[in-house]
Symmetry: C2
């Protein structure tokens, strides 16, 4: 059996760790990767500090097929992602002509000066390929298996849409859900038994409280539609639910 | 100067990595920690797999003053957090009398059987102290600097409220924000200059697009209210904004 490609996400930004803003990109990426048959196995959120970014990138790129980063590639002094990625790979970084040309063309059209700060956004690590930014110009880039993207959700999503078709994927993960109006503790023994006889799927149980009553959503996930169907039938049958 | 206590959060759950649900606990914890003067420096989200949990716990507990985990402490077969924490610390784990008594009392009152699955929730690593769960009974626990809590938001929040007063904190981080109706690229040079002459604060710039126009929120953060005030005045002055 082919090993399923795995992915990790690295979110760079003090604003999320301080509670100032909520991350909006992780949920989007998780859904897109799942549809593409790529398992998102880990997410790390680190602060705008070079050692934190470098350590995380180096750990994740060795453990996963693909690493996607978001945040820290703008024009300001705290946008240090590109330089940190270059350090992580031990390669140089400088303003690159093709990236500069993209910015120049855009700012000329807007009648805006390509000043020193904006030119920082054309700093690209040696050996990287650019990821187009149809929203605001400044490109992301790919270096080996690391894909570096902006944190602004509209830009992040546009960049993700471009790189996903280029990534090795597998058959997409299928899932089916059954809602059971019983607390998890009533279901757990039977679910464990079902999980043991259906090893090709993963069975998750997600408890909720609604109008003071306990219930659980039982989710069966797997790449083999027949196996998912058989397991969900087993769940339905044991709890007396008609599907 | 006293070293500021740092914290890390570990979120355990396939349902977030698959895009099925959005994490609701990180943003809450980030805000509570910031108010308590504890820097949240890193968040990791890992799947419901023992090696992933063990590796993350061991990395984070060595690097940070406090580690808070959420998820994976229910009654079902995929709730493996408690056992993984015990493995990470190299200690034993078993059903503990005080935890069992809490569950027994609760289920007796509800007229519900304390079955084998529910009894799993009384499995507590050796040497841990319990964290009360006023919402649904099953306790969390603290082992050294690792605080293990449920993922259900109502329970997570109740547990966080209990442990925060017990953690070493520092003076809370203060922040002030100025909204500038200019794109980041116009502000970046000046902000970098201000950041250099105000080393005691951190200055972040968060771009937005509103009605097709670019703007930026400039956030100054720091523990010294006077330093924050001086830096925000400098930002206001340079961009001609009256505060």
């Amino acid at each position: 059996m082919m090993k399923t490609p795995t992915a990790a996400m690295l979110v760079i930004g003090d604003e999320i760790l301080s509670g100032r803003t909520r991350d909006a990109n992780m949920h989007h990426l998780a859904q897109v990767l799942t549809s593409a048959g790529i398992d998102l196995k880990e997410v790390r959120i680190v602060s705008d500090e070079a050692p934190a970014i470098i350590d995380a990138v180096n750990a994740l790129r060795k453990s996963h097929s693909h690493v996607i980063t978001s945040g820290g590639i703008g024009p300001t002094h705290d946008d240090i992602t590109a330089d940190s990625i270059a350090s992580a790979f031990g390669v140089g970084i400088d303003v690159r002509d093709d990236a500069k040309a993209i910015l120049q063309e855009r700012y000329d059209r807007m009648g805006v000066e390509l000043n020193e700060a904006r030119l920082r956004m054309a700093r690209i690590p040696d050996g990287a390929t650019l990821i187009e930014n149809p929203v605001s110009g400044a490109p992301g880039f790919t270096l080996e298996n690391v894909h570096v993207m902006a944190g602004v959700p509209a830009v992040f999503q546009a960049m993700v849409a471009q790189i996903i078709p280029l990534l090795d994927g597998g058959p997409p993960v299928l899932s089916q859900t059954i809602r059971v109006e019983k607390p998890e503790g009533e279901l757990a023994g039977a679910l464990g038994d079902i999980a043991r006889v259906h090893p090709d799927v993963s069975i998750g149980s997600y408890p909720f409280i609604e109008n003071g009553a306990y219930g659980s959503n039982i989710v069966v996930r797997g790449r083999d539609g027949k196996a998912v169907g058989q397991a969900i039938q087993a769940v339905a049958q044991i709890f007396g639910i008609t599907t």
